[in-house]
Amino acid sequence: MLEARLPQAALLKKIVEALKEMVNESNFDCGDSGISMQAMDSAHIAMCSLLLRSEGFEPYRCDRVISLGLSFSSLSKVLKCAGNDDVVTLKAEDDADTLGLMFESPKEERVSQFDLKLMDIDSDHVSIPDQEYDCTVHLSSAEFARICRDLSTFGASVVLDATKEGIKFSASGELGRGGILLKQQGSVDDSSPTSTRIEMREPVSVTLSLKYLNIFTKAAPLSEVVTINMSSEIPVLFQFSIGDIGHIRFYLAPQIQEDD
């Protein structure tokens, strides 16, 4: 039996909007520590993982671990029925075939109740182990979204070069070439949270698909800052924090010259 109450429907809406572009359907694993979900895109180039800790809900109750198969498009449709400030309560019985969603307006004068049919999704449960990265870059998520959008005019892939000075995004194609450099700003302590900061052991250069990056940036509304963790030749991790209750992580495999 799961019962989780989230004070702001807007948060759930943003999460679903951030992920539905990449994933059609997936299992949400609900346990006593919270709700998590991981899924790969259909081409298995990228993976996303969602974590919502139990502390973020008020209250949160989950007697035993259950897996809820949800279709993101259905979920998104249902959430359209909720106001941004509504309080959302998720409910599911053990072995249930529906997920109950209750939306209460802030003044509690309107209560809507929806049951969403669950899917039986048989898929591998995959995860990418945590690891040390050679380079970690923090930057404004809005800035990141803009860079990705701008560079996709030039090409299908972008090269990220991280050095002590800053991080450079460059792309080239039929149209010409483009490069955007974000410089490391001042000292670590006194800058604003959205200023660019780089922690690195050694410089890293990776090539990534812009198509995927533009999907990831759908999560920008969730968080002001995006953290990019990079090492050569392993998947790059993009993390968007969801307040202090959790995060969305995207992993993207670096591009290899011509796969065959």
């Binding site: 990449m22 694993d29 081409a43 671990v65 039986d120 990418i128 992993y251 065959d260």
Partner: protein, 1250 residues
Amino acid sequence: MVEKRKAADNVSSTEAASKGSKLENKSSSSGAANGASKRIKAHGVQKGAVQSFFAPRKSSAKSDSKPKDEKPKVQIKTENPESSEIKPKPLDDDKDSQNGKIFENTDKKDKVHVATEQKAQKQSPQSSMDIEEDGGEEEKSATKGEGSNGIYIKPEPGIEKATTVKAESTIKNFPKVEIRAPVKPSIKDEKVAPPTPKKIINRASMLKREKSSFQEELEEMEARVPEAKAAKELWSRNPIPDFDPEKDPLIFQQMEIDEYVDISSNSLAVRLYGVTQNGNSVTCFVHGFYPYFYVPAPPQFDEDRIPELIKVLNAQIASENRARGERSAVVNITIVMKESIYGYHGGKKLPFFKIEMRGPSLISIGRSVFTEKGVDVPGVGHYVSQAFESNIEYTLRFMIDHKVVGANWVELPAGKYSKRLNTTSRAQIEVQVYHKDLISHDPATQEWSHVAPLRILSFDIECAGRKGIFPEPKVDPVIQIANMVTIHGSNKPFIRNIFTLNTCAPIIGSQILSYSTEQELLRGWKEFLLMVDPDIVIGYNTTNFDFPYLIERAEALGVNDFPYLGRLSHVKSVLKESRFSSKAYGTREDKVLNMEGRVQFDILQAMRRDYKLRSFSLNAVSAHFLGEQKEDVPHSIITDLQNGTDETRRRLAVYCLKDAYLPQRLADKLMLLVNYMEMARVTGVPFNYLLSRGQQIKVVSQLYRKAIEQDLVIPVMERGAAGGSDEQYEGATVIEPKRGFYNVPIATLDFASLYPSIMMAHNLCYTTLLTKQIAEQLKLVKEVDYEVTPAGDMFVKAERRKGLLPQVLQELLSARKKAKADMKKETDPFKVQVLNGRQLALKISANSVYGFTGATVGRLPCLQISASVTAYGREMIEATKKTVENHYCKANGYEHDAEVIYGDTDSVMVRFGTPILEESMKLGTEAAGFVSNIFVKPIKLEFEKVYFPYLLINKKRYAGLYWTRPEKYDKLDTKGLETVRRDNCPLVPTVVETCLRKMLIDNDVDGAVKYAKETIANLLQNKVDLSQLIITKQLSRTDYSNKQAHVELAERMRRRDAGSAPQLGDRVPYVIIKAARGTPAYERAEDPIYVLENNIPIDTHHYLSNQLTNPLQRIFEPILGNKIESLFAGDHTRSIQMNAPTKGGLMNFVVKTKTCLGCKTPLPKASQDQPVCKHCKPKLPQIYLRNKDTMNAFESQFAKLWTQCQRCQGSLHNDVICGNRDCPIFYMRKKVQKDCNEQAQVMERFDCSW
């Protein structure tokens, strides 16, 4: 003969047999054998007839019983074949006839029975006993002092060894010598050493296990035809009977005709190649016939000045054609009274020059002199004119003028022909005759409808390619050539052999000829080909692969005497490229190899012409028509097999033999040769035109034949002269369908041979086409003298002049009627086949006449005719609809108002309103007769069938249960539905057909809906077999302007492995895989094998929405209406499976977290080795059992599939290597194998020691 058979019987051990066959080719010649071999040949004539009546059991039974009772046995053997010859009986009777006739006492009879049973137990060793023996052996063995009658003789290891050594040494000799040599001595030695009975059994059981069905088949053949063993003597044709050209006529069936121009001696001849009834090959030179063409003679020309005209022409042609120095191109000019076929001119004949030229190549020069430059005709002046009949091939001209049709019998009367002294061909009989003495027999007559004992060679080669590269003749060796030779009309090949490079373990039922070098192999095969002297060479893709490869390989190896494969000893076989373009068959490029006197009949080409299949690979075609899969050895493994041991080469050889046998079986099963031969006879074109040319030439041939009878000449039309090739005319009409599901009988009324009968009824022809001017000039009266068609063209009526095309059609259709009538009377199944082929050929020919007149790029287009035909057709359909609806209505006292719900081209569908089947059939028959009366004869409306129920989806799309008798339906008939189309994956037709069956046959709409939903659910859960999802498209050219899935995939595959990538013209199989959103479909196509190997997820949603949705909507919409949406959404779509691939993208970096086997939640790190989470612990036993069941199911399924494949490949000891992409079992096996492995890993998680 008696002795011969005796000797054969002595072979009673598998071992001996196998050694025997191994050594056959190595044996040295023995003079004594010659006599015996001759006898075999003589006997061989009847063999073809006999063999089919031979029970496989019989021969082996004989040999079995022998050890107990030698003498009678010997007798049995001797007599059996003869008795069965005299009195062919079905297999079961065989034994009895044998007993009754041959055995003097009953004891022996019993023994035979016993022996038969024994045989059943030890099948394989017995069949192996039938190793070829002849008198020669017999004598030889006697001299060696090894017991004469082959009774128990002590094994003599020493001798055996010696023979082997000898054989080894001979193999190095030039094979030519060996081939001539009779086979026997070595074998005999082997035979004489029988192993102990125990050994036989062991060996037998072993062999039994190893046999594939094909091998059994081979063995059976061997058993059936004990006399026709793999002896080289059998290769040759029957000896020529004595004949005297002065006294005996020479009659033969000609199979091929070519022209022969000898510039040096200025002689021109037509060569006919053929076979006599006795099976002797004939080459016949026909002299004295010159090609000619017609030019209208100027009216004022004086006939006496012809010699002058010849001189003028010769001079002019000589100047045109300076290089060739032709001084006397024109042989003769005569003035004949002819009429142009095109248009009606009141039937007036005009003078024409008939200009005979010295050679076929001069015709076009002669023509151009008249049509372009003009000629100074003596007494007339400069004269430019159109030419007639200058564009017909010389050989066809010859055939038309002498009434020779394709593959018919011709006779050279006694005293009119002579043997040629300096023979140039390899035919047994080479003669010459003056063209006017040649008699051609009409194959439509009973007497001349049969077929000569043609020799048909079916062969296949194997090459050892390098990894990843398609074999190239410059580099990669030819390693095996398998051959099957059949006499036309017999159903089993009498020669089965395989030429191998390096040794090969014996294969029962076929002869193995091993060579140590490729040069010898090629020479050996060429000698074989020349000795067998086949009339028809068949095979699969021989035209574009096997023959070119052999020729190019021989060239690369410097075997310069190889490419002389035809019947002319001095003519080299040369490869050429040809391009064939036809509206009906598309454009394709082929290689052409000349083999004078032999017809090359590539089954692949015939298949491509006659059938529309998803795949034309030999596997797919034989699975489709013969209902059996075959092992497909991947290219990459062939080389490994060849470089292995003689056992691995044997494996390859069995495979190769099967590839040689399948084309033969296909040809038999589909009666290709018979049908094509009948087509050649009916349309009068040479046999080889049928594969190399299009439809038009057949009509041309018939038209010329008819025209010559009526002194008509055919103009040469410039291409597109009839107004350009883009001219269109209105086609057939389609009555707007009243869509819906009809649960009442719908009667279908068809016009029989609509277009031909319209042409006949309204006398539409070139010769009756009337222009306004002519009509006025001749003062013709509308409706009396001529008719105006609905298309506005004018044609004179039959009373004025009967059209040529109507006559051709009438003959074709009445010949068809006759053939059908004969077919009913005929009892001989083979003749029934011939007649059936004939009536089909006649039908197709009749229908192609209309197309010929409408072919704007054709030889003689006449759109007035074709437009009028369709105009009449439209009118008639409308008239039929009106008549039926007006007559069958309540006003006329009928119970219901009839309604025409649909009509197309030549048929109308009528709902008479009655719910009773019989009633509607009665009304249908009545209506057909009633409506026929309003049309001109011979147009006839026929009642053919009733559809009940009937699902009318759209124009040209419908399905219904087809009834011709009220008792039982005939079949489920569908038109235009996905059941018959091939541009989708097999899942679609399967689902559509099953749904239709449920709806129409079982009347169970709910069942159909349920089935459709189930299929969708299975698809989404990835439970559908991969082979059901494969889409194939032909790779017809690479320069598609817009990207297409199969083209892109072919390109990608080429980059991966050039060797196995699809070639131009191949059909490319692919599946649609999942990819990032927005990826275009062409990038999502992937090779099914690659998908299987890498576990790539299939885009099941694509299949649902792009493949299944529309077809299902179409068939369910008339029934479900708005509820149709429920098919594609709902609970059944809510269970899905998502696979992760094993490689690519992110997969190299991820870790799979184990999930609980009970509730699918991920397990915490600490308990990753546990099968279930702590909540599911109580249910562990159930979960274990459920998984165990799954495991068992996978295992047993895999075991079944694996053995199935092992059976197919013919060995239960070896791994399956088959990679047959057309075989559903292959995909199933791969998939289950994968599932099995995965499930095994799951099982490991249970700690089974609990």
